[in-house]
Symmetry: none
Subunit: 219 residues, 2 copies
DNA sequence: TTTCACCGTTCAGCACATTGTCAGGAAACG
DNA sequence: CGTTTCCTGACAATGTGCTGAACGGTGAAA
């Protein structure tokens, strides 16, 4: 999925980009409205992530222009806590959803999925795995033989990463980062423990061990 | 789309009607509550545009009566700048959105589209859930083992959100937004309290807890 | 008007789920 | 065989959700 992120706070932008790249999305970043316009002219994006509080002009105008030109690219706007009027204006200008800063990166993922799904009209983005396991990434739900399986947030964080890149082997280090946002090296076998717990819930065969490297889920 | 406009300022009413007619909508106009009641009796409208400041009675009462009778016709209320309390009351009485006068006619169109879209998105008015619970989304009514269950407006606001996305886990943040229309973030466990009350009315198993995230109802 | 019932909200305490860690055992590998 | 890597049961500390109680506000009834 091609995503255009328009955001001038660089730290936030980097965090968002890293997170989305890690989920396998293609992210372009622009820090200003003019840049964004140029990029929009050159590429067809699937989703637009738009901060309304930009230095060189109103993000709202960008969105309005887009809609005026007939573009229906889904758009999620990012606003600060107190800019309630911006949110309303944004929705009226044609935004599909909004997120209030600071937001959880996983929530961002969920909304992205929801918005793009709403748009593409495919209601069930279920991923099927071995052992009768199905996963709804956007809805954060897992079925095993049709039964719902409850995962804790850590368990989901790990499993989510693996399901997003089926067939790929993920190193323990990568998976660790899914658990502990920034670096924060932890010397322990936490990942192993969680894999163990996941296997108990989902069955032995869903998560394969790649000795010396990490783990992998089949597509 | 059939629209009923209840508004006593004739200039404004004319402007609104002209604008909507030009968009291809069917607009009826009433300048008083009693007229509106008569027209509502005779016709099924898709959207109700309601000024709260009417000469012969409170528009709010009209709305409350409608909701009490089980009508779920989407309603956008029109208020003047300073009547903030009216807005809150209106939303509590069952309005779907509000517009502050003077408003841009294009903004009106946008809200109309948004409100009606919100409703037309539910092709299946009757949803069956676990525990013998049936929900009529359009009619705002809930049955348990065939018995009618009364939900308060907040309870409904929450439950409605969950039933509309069965199988999906909704974060507490998302659900909070269902309670407090736009913003005004409140730090409390209000969502939990309402879930608790809903469970008492609907049974333990209808609403599942997803720890660390939020809640979910089964399809 | 007063009274009453109900609703929305907040808070505090309890109960229990989750988490990170460790240690001992199992399995893979040379 | 030894070594390395991985698995998993147990545990204490922490975190999170649930729910009864209480309070102020609002509308309806008397």
């Amino acid at each position: 999925m091609r995503i255009l992120l328009v955001e001038d706070e660089l730290m936030l932008a980097d965090a968002v980009r890293d997170h989305l790249l890690a989920s396998g999305e293609a992210v372009d970043h622009s820090a200003s409205v003019v840049d964004a316009e140029i990029m929009l002219r050159g590429t067809n994006y699937d989703v637009l992530l738009l901060d309304l509080n930009l230095p060189d002009g109103k993000g709202l105008d960008l969105l309005r222009d887009l809609r005026r030109q007939g573009s229906a690219t889904p758009c999620i706007i990012l606003t600060a806590q107190d800019q309630i009027s911006d949110r309303i204006e944004g929705l009226n200008a044609g935004a599909d959803d909004y997120l209030v800063k600071p937001f959880d990166l996983n929530e961002l993922s969920a909304r992205l999925a929801a918005v793009s799904r709403r748009y593409s009209g495919n209601p069930n983005p279920f991923v099927e795995l071995e052992g009768g396991v199905e996963v709804d990434l956007a809805g954060r739900s897992v079925l095993r033989d049709g039964e719902h399986i409850d995962l804790t947030s850590r368990e989901w964080a790990l499993f989510d990463q693996m399901v997003k890149r089926p067939g790929q082997t993920l190193s323990k280090r990568q998976l660790e980062e899914a658990l502990y946002e920034f670096g924060a090296e932890i010397e322990s076998n936490t990942v192993e423990v969680y894999v163990s717990r996941l296997r108990r819930k989902l069955g032995r065969d869903v998560i394969k061990t790649v000795r010396g490297v990490g783990y992998r889920v089949e597509g």
